[in-house]
């Protein structure tokens, strides 16, 4: 755990150092470029702000109504042998369809359980190691006018499952 945490701590400073040093030695106007990128990064956030507001309201309503606890308990009963924290199964299901809807649930989990709790860590890792299977497939295959997706879905499910299992194992050892 200590090694992992220490490595985690040095990655961001190392990355910043590498990019800035590489940039300046390649005669890039690093500060000007940084400002330009920062501006476009802020614009991205502004453009997704309405999405965040909409989804956090929806999840907030679901949480306050008691429905999230109801679904969590239901999942607990269904998977009682597997020892999965209550909010994880709904999160996994939603994540396959929509990344932003999953984000709403993630924020709710962080608020309820704390980001450093077992459930919070598990949530962080699962979100980092999985993708929105059905959304990605529909966007890409629709653009390419493909109807038969052949072995894409099984492959995507295998990769996602591996990410989820790895997340569980890693949290257990942290």
């Amino acid at each position: 755990m200590n090694i992992l945490a220490n490595l985690s701590n040095i990655i961001i400073p190392l990355l910043i150092f590498y990019i800035v040093a590489y940039g300046i030695s390649a005669h890039v106007n690093v500060y000007d470029e940084f400002l330009e990128g920062a501006r476009s990064g802020m614009q991205t956030v502004i453009s997704i702000a309405p999405t965040m507001i909409g989804l956090m309201i929806a999840v907030g309503v679901l949480r306050a109504s008691g429905f999230l606890d109801f679904v969590g308990n239901l999942c607990n009963r269904l998977f009682s042998g597997a020892d999965i924290p209550a909010p994880i199964m709904p999160l996994l299901l939603i994540k396959m369809f929509s990344s932003s809807a999953a984000t709403g649930l993630v924020l709710d989990i962080f608020k309820e359980y704390g980001p450093d709790s077992q459930t919070g860590l598990l949530t962080s890792l699962i979100m980092s190691s999985t993708e929105t299977i059905f959304y990605t497939m529909s966007v890409y295959f629709m653009a390419a006018k493909i109807k038969k997706t052949r072995y894409t879905l099984p492959g995507a499910l295998v990769a996602t499952l591996a990410g989820v299992i790895a997340s569980f194992l890693i949290v257990r050892f942290l």
Partner: protein, 198 residues
Amino acid sequence: MLNYIWAFMIIIGIIYGSLTGHMAELSNAALDSAREAVTLCITMLGVMALWVGLMQIAQKAGIIASMTKKLRPFLLFLFPRLRYEDIALEYISTNVVANILGLGWACTPAGLKAMEELGKIQRNNKTCKDPTAASNEMCNFLILNISSLQLIPVNIIVYRSQYGSVTPTSIIMPAILATTCSTLAGILFIKFADKSPS
């Protein structure tokens, strides 16, 4: 899709809340969540400015271009029927690098271009019987894409710090480990499934 999910969440929430007598909490929650979302976006403004700013330097310095180039020989291993100079391979490479660096805005355009080029290759292939069926390359590309390639989960780090994590970045190495597992599983699956003819 999101229209239905969103409506479902709001409608179920209000119906369930009215049945269980949580209406007061519910109206507070709606207002509080809206305010909270704005606070979160303010935190995100800073971190995203930092990240995209750095990536802009990386792009101008040629770091991203050189990563894209270095990745291509490795991609040939996953797409054995493509040639090094195929445009499709270049787009795939751009998409993968953008994914690895978490540049969401750069992934999708390159990915769609890659699919388009793979479609052209498929239609030129005389042994291809059904152009509405995905080629092996398309399947491999999407599995690789969906296996999650992003190394540093910037968004998750922001959310963690917003909700009081002591060390928001401590999940970077574990996350790299987990995402490596999912990608390796995806690659193994590709190597296993790609033997069947398209």
